[in-house]
């Protein structure tokens, strides 16, 4: 690729900005490290690194109640950690937030197969609408659309980010 083409991370960041996201709570997966590095230095939003993903759901809920539009960036193992917070805070109080989830154990991955198998059934059980973009360009347009859907539905919406969306390039 030529150097003036946007990278996958730049496309996803553009989607986050276009969606009007004001706060991102994050916990890293190795495939999210470049994106998290960009968020930490992004003066258009507040970046809150957390140590357990349930915190992120709480911080996101507070950010929405205070007039912001939040996202939580995590791996799908972390998504499983958030199930109680999603149920008894985000769903029970009807609070919008965008869940940006790296989809470990999906096509192209070499580990976490059990995690990959349960991820979509768990999201279905929670009643969370879930989208899987085919590449970063699709993710760029999907992020603002899913954010609006979340706000209108008053509940979380998830985007699962596969290895095809977050190809890692040398910095």
């Amino acid at each position: 690729m030529t150097t003036d083409e946007p990278t996958d991370v730049e496309l996803i960041l553009a989607g986050i900005h276009e969606a009007g996201i004001t706060l991102v709570a994050s916990l890293p997966d190795i495939n999210l490290v470049d994106l998290i590095g960009r968020l930490e230095n992004d003066d258009r939003l507040v970046h809150v690194p957390v140590s357990r993903e349930e915190e992120g759901i709480g911080i996101a809920a507070g950010a929405y109640l205070g007039g912001g539009m939040p996202a939580v960036l995590m791996q799908n193992a972390g998504l499983l950690n958030t199930c109680n917070a999603i149920t008894t805070t985000a769903l029970q109080f009807e609070i919008p937030m965008l869940l940006l989830v790296f989809y470990a154990g999906h096509l192209g991955d070499t580990a976490f197969m059990r995690l990959g198998e349960v991820t979509e059934p768990v999201l279905r059980a929670l009643g969370i609408r879930t989208f899987i973009p085919v590449d970063a360009a699709a993710a760029r347009s999907l992020i603002p659309q899913a954010t609006m859907l979340s706000r209108q539905a008053m509940r979380p919406v998830a985007i699962l980010l596969t290895k095809a969306v977050l190809r890692r390039f040398a910095a």
Partner: protein
């Protein structure tokens, strides 16, 4: 020192501060003494300090008070370094430590200082996590003074209040979670002069007719 006495004594000090309570005794007791429209009654054990942090970051000019408990904080200890890293000067985190899971039958938590529990000091944990303003109080007058001082900023403040295990008989709360959300959001909209529920979508997402 009783938690209800602490809450009753500081309620008259508040104006338009936001109050976030854990799902324990502080929730119904604050509902009995505090103003209802600025009160969020969290239902996820441990999450009240995270929700309070999100509010404090979204509204940096507005004081946010979290009324937490020992069992609740122990479930979400990673909230302490997260708060320390963000350094919200407008966040006041009060932990009423009675050494038991009071709302679920009175079993000892790991802060209990007798029996087999660990006897952990939550104030020391907050200090170790990097929170600068940590105050341990076990007298009512001291609690009220520390609470009043924390309303003037300089946070994040962590007030570790050791209280006896006692729950005041208060009326049941008559709102569900969704009504609680709308009540708080409309309070914030009104007092901040902002639109939250009717916030416009980004222009790129507006339907073109």
């Amino acid at each position: 020192m009783r938690r209800f006495d602490c809450l009753r004594d500081v309620a008259p000090l508040l104006a338009d501060e936001i109050v976030v309570t854990n799902n324990g005794g502080a929730s119904t007791e604050w509902a009995a003494v505090g103003r209802p429209d600025s009160h969020l009654q969290v239902k996820t054990l441990g999450l009240c300090s995270s929700i309070g942090l999100g509010l404090a970051l979204a509204l940096p000019h507005r004081t946010v008070i979290v009324l937490d408990g020992d069992g609740s904080l122990l479930m979400n200890l990673s909230t302490l370094p997260t708060i320390a890293r963000q350094r919200p000067s407008n966040l006041v985190h009060v932990v009423f430590d009675n050494g038991v899971y009071e709302a679920s039958g009175g079993t000892a938590t790991q802060t209990a200082r007798d029996g087999a529990a660990a006897g952990v000091d939550l104030g020391a944990m907050a200090r170790a996590a990097g929170i600068a303003a940590v105050h341990a109080v076990d007298e009512l007058a001291d609690f009220t003074a520390r609470f009043a001082a924390s309303l003037r900023g300089g946070g994040p403040t962590f007030i570790h209040a050791r209280v006896e295990a006692s729950r005041e008989r208060v009326p049941p709360v008559a709102v569900d979670e969704v009504e609680n959300k709308y009540r708080l959001v409309r309070f914030i909209e009104r007092t901040e002069g902002i639109a939250i529920l009717t916030r416009p979508e980004p222009a790129s997402q507006a339907h073109r007719s």
